[in-house]
Symmetry: none
Subunit: 236 residues, 2 copies
């Protein structure tokens, strides 16, 4: 049974809140937003079942650290992740000693944020075993790569991938929208010591396309980059 997980997001920048909201919603989190420390505490009061709080440290007025301490005191079971800008490294320690469970350094990718939240949820033991496994994963478009059991889903549908195919799609999704040369793929998936023709990449790409593309003759996820290699287009 998949219970909805409520996440409180505190950041004064609209753009960042919006960025976080969109990405959390995509992963079925219920998002509660706050632009100020006061608002955050208010929202927490109203929603006792918040599981995770994402708190920006740098804020006008009551800052993220204050909010962190208050939340920790009032709701000891809540998971707290601090959002810190690079260069505020010192704040990490401050944040963690202030009762936070983890921190994410801006800029973070949606996938990193999701990964941190999922990791924290796992540590907090609020997940059922199924959910627990489900949350060790990469996401891209309709794909989910479960790093735990090495299974890949497309639209909740399991794909039957071979080890090489799994390696390729994982590498691609880790490098969304970046053109990768055959040799980069070879080094990553086959290892730097591999001796043999680079052409193996082509053949394996072909097999992978056969399995993941809606119309393998007109690939939309694995794009070819003439004279260079291939490029993953998750489309997020």
């Amino acid at each position: 049974m998949i219970s909805v997980i409520k996440v409180l997001v505190l950041d004064d920048e609209d753009a960042i809140r919006s960025f976080i909201r969109v990405n959390l919603k995509r992963h079925n989190f219920f998002v509660i937003e706050a632009a100020t420390g006061e608002e955050a505490l208010e929202k927490a009061e109203q929603n006792k079942d918040i599981k995770i709080a994402l708190l920006d440290i740098m804020l006008p007025g009551i800052d993220g650290l204050e909010v962190c301490k208050c939340l920790r005191k009032e709701y000891p079971t809540i998971g707290i992740i601090m959002l810190t800008a690079k260069g505020q490294e010192d704040d990490k320690i401050t944040g963690l000693s202030g009762g936070a469970d983890d921190y994410v350094v801006k800029p973070f990718s949606p996938n990193e944020l999701i990964a941190r939240i999922n990791a924290l949820l796992r540590r907090m033991n609020v997940l059922s075993p199924q959910e627990n496994t489900q949350r060790k994963a990469l996401f891209s478009g309709p794909f989910m790569v479960n790093l735990d059991n090495r299974k890949v889903l497309k639209n909740e549908q399991e794909l039957e991938l071979t080890p090489k195919e799994y390696g390729i799609i994982k590498f691609f999704i880790e490098n969304d929208n970046k053109a990768m040369s055959r040799n980069e793929i070879l080094d990553e998936v086959w290892g730097k010591n591999y001796v043999g023709d680079v052409k193996v990449v082509d053949v394996n790409i072909r097999r992978l396309r056969q399995k993941i593309e809606t119309d393998p003759a007109n690939p939309q996820f694995i794009e070819r980059v003439w004279g260079f290699g291939y490029c993953w287009r998750g489309g997020d």
Copy 2:
């Protein structure tokens, strides 16, 4: 999630502020202007989320260096680029030791300024990965060359370029407004070992023009330089 990046521009000359404003806006920066040091500090006070400050050094009253030091002290995470006039080279050291992150020597081209800002933003790590990718790009007039996924846009519209065409336009834009001989182009795009007629350059230029010029019969971006080669005119 393209969050707007606020840039503070301090220069006493209207013309220069205007020049910078126009070009920054073109690249989706939010521009905050100040004509005096006092005004700059005021504006900074009002806009805590300024990411980048462009400060002219030579100013009546509080000069750019003073402003730099104040900003650095009050807002340590802000990125500071000094604008120095040619001949004030000494100021470079002064500027950087005063806490600046970079400097640009006047007169500068819009593209140089944008490139410096983007490079600094990347160093500052304030960009989300997507933005970061977006900013690993070259700009020239309506063109954007994404170095990450090797795509070229003209007015946000993707162009379908072949590898050679991509190589040529990239080389051109890296050398905006500089006449390039056929052999320089050949060496860069085809490689120094290439054996064959230099004429391939002409033919490929022709095809590239076909794809990028509004009126290929009257090229405005790729200009011919009689008896020498070609020259890119981004028009910034």
